[in-house]
């Protein structure tokens, strides 16, 4: 499947990925409006971790054996048959946090108002995830992983 590859050595910690993730998952999808009106209500699916000069932007790895799917009691966490992305159907999520418990990269967060799980959906509505498109240094690359 196509995954987002993280090139840690190229991450410059600018957080444009977080910013554009937020915009993409806003109602308006307009950056200024999204930040004015929805900044507090959206949890980006990508988070930049930083320590000294090392940084990287981490989002769901869309694991092949996704522990979050196995741990999900409602079936809200599922693998999209087309893209193979691991998607959380927020309408079905009841916020039991089993997925949070089992995700080894902590890529699943408690979402808006802490009600349901929120995570990277690989930007289902965009051809290429916006974090990848907007990374100025190609620290994130969207590519087929032939490794598996």
């Amino acid at each position: 499947m196509k995954r987002i590859k993280i090139n840690e050595q190229h991450c410059i910690g600018c957080r444009l990925c977080e910013i554009h993730c937020l915009v993409q998952h806003s109602k308006s999808k307009k950056i200024i409006k999204a930040f004015r009106e929805e900044r507090e209500s959206i949890v980006p699916g990508i988070h930049v971790e930083e320590s000294g000069y090392v940084s990287f932007a981490l989002q769901c790895r869309h694991c092949e054996d996704a522990p979050c799917i196995e741990a999900c009691m409602t079936g809200a966490m599922y693998r999209d048959p087309e893209t193979e992305a691991v998607i959380c159907d927020q309408d079905r999520c009841v916020g039991c946090w089993m997925c949070v418990m089992v995700c080894p990269v902590a890529a699943i967060r408690r979402g808006p108002e802490d009600q349901v799980a929120s995570k990277c959906d690989l930007c289902m509505e965009a051809e290429i995830p916006v974090c990848v498109v907007n990374c100025p240094n190609e620290a994130l690359v969207y590519e087929d992983d032939a490794v598996r």
Binding site: E8, F56, C63, A71, W97, V100, P104
Partner: protein
Amino acid sequence: MKRHPYLIIGNSVAAIAGVEGIRQVDDDTPITILAREPHHTYSRPLISYWLSGQVDDGDMFYRPEDFYEQNRVDVILSQEVISVDPQNQTVQTADGHRIAFDKLLIAAGGQPIVPPDIPGSDADGVFTFTTWDDARNIRDFVTQQGVQQAVVVGGGLIGLKSLEALVELGLQTTVVELADRILSATFDQTAAELAQTMLEEAGVTVLCNNTVAEIATEDRQVKEAILHTGQHISCQLVVFAIGVRPNIQMVADTSIAVDWGILVDDHMQTSVADVYAAGDVAQAPALLSDERRCIPILPNAYRQGCVAGQNMAGADQLYRGGLVMNAVDICGLPTISVGMTTPDNEDCEVLTALDEEAPSYKKIVLCDEKVVGAIFVGDIDRAGIFTGLIKQEIDVASCKELLLTEDFGVISLPTEYRKHLVSGMGIEV
């Protein structure tokens, strides 16, 4: 007699995972499910959410409506298996059918424990809380009888989730827990106190170091719960949530080895070839332990079912062992506990951070520089990292000081493990 190439007893998480496991390896061979309950596969943990009205009927189902069809599963509902004959490779159903199989998966789950020696435990208004029908019966009873007060026996996971639903239904509730704290199996004193505070703030009376000695009735109707300490609690509803026993009667007196549950090896196979067991009924290898254990939690059930299914279909899939863990939202307070949270081993090192205001509590248990257990109350966002550290037995000596810090994250992990995670080169389940 028609033989069923894949026969599965049970219709919940482990059984469904069994189907999905088989289908990962074998696309076409038909699968047969024998289900005791009359429902399309549904999610048992959701019954408390259903009871409180948070989810409706439609959202109860664990897999979509066309799941059986899509996976070429022949499902026979309301068909309880009473015995398994491993020699002849048949099972016997309650209504007298014998069904032959080539490969069998026993995913029959567990049976809630109701202490038979408590007077009044057979009265109307005494329930257990494991099936959708249990929840339905409670809801009907509450509505029909105009129940005002309820007592939940058992302050474990099921007890608390039923409590939450009953509170949501507007009942005045009391929980009675035999141990000195609620969630005693996974929580330490501090975490339990934080959780208890949340319950009490929601109006629940929490009584620990206590249990119900008798249920006083009138016309078979529950009137009071009488505790060991002699205390009388007026109630019209009692829910027993003191544990679950694996459904092993069906294999009693067969060559299938049992202990507390059905013993399985690391391929989820029982002592008899071609007979597998998974889920709450199975006693399987466990992480952080030399003995096989029954760990009746959903993620384990799924993984076991899936491994069993794959192996039934001819794969050679290893079950790496279960881990005790739980995520519970207690009246809006998220909590997660993983692994050995209250170590009896003196060599273990315990790191804690408590902020009662938030509230937030973190506890990390280390043994030989490896994380073996963790509790998170309140701030649970990074808990999964610890689950991973426990499962992968990562040496965290290099980042021990950071474990409890605010910005502890994947970046704080030992470089090699971090790169392994970040590269996404495979996350071991």
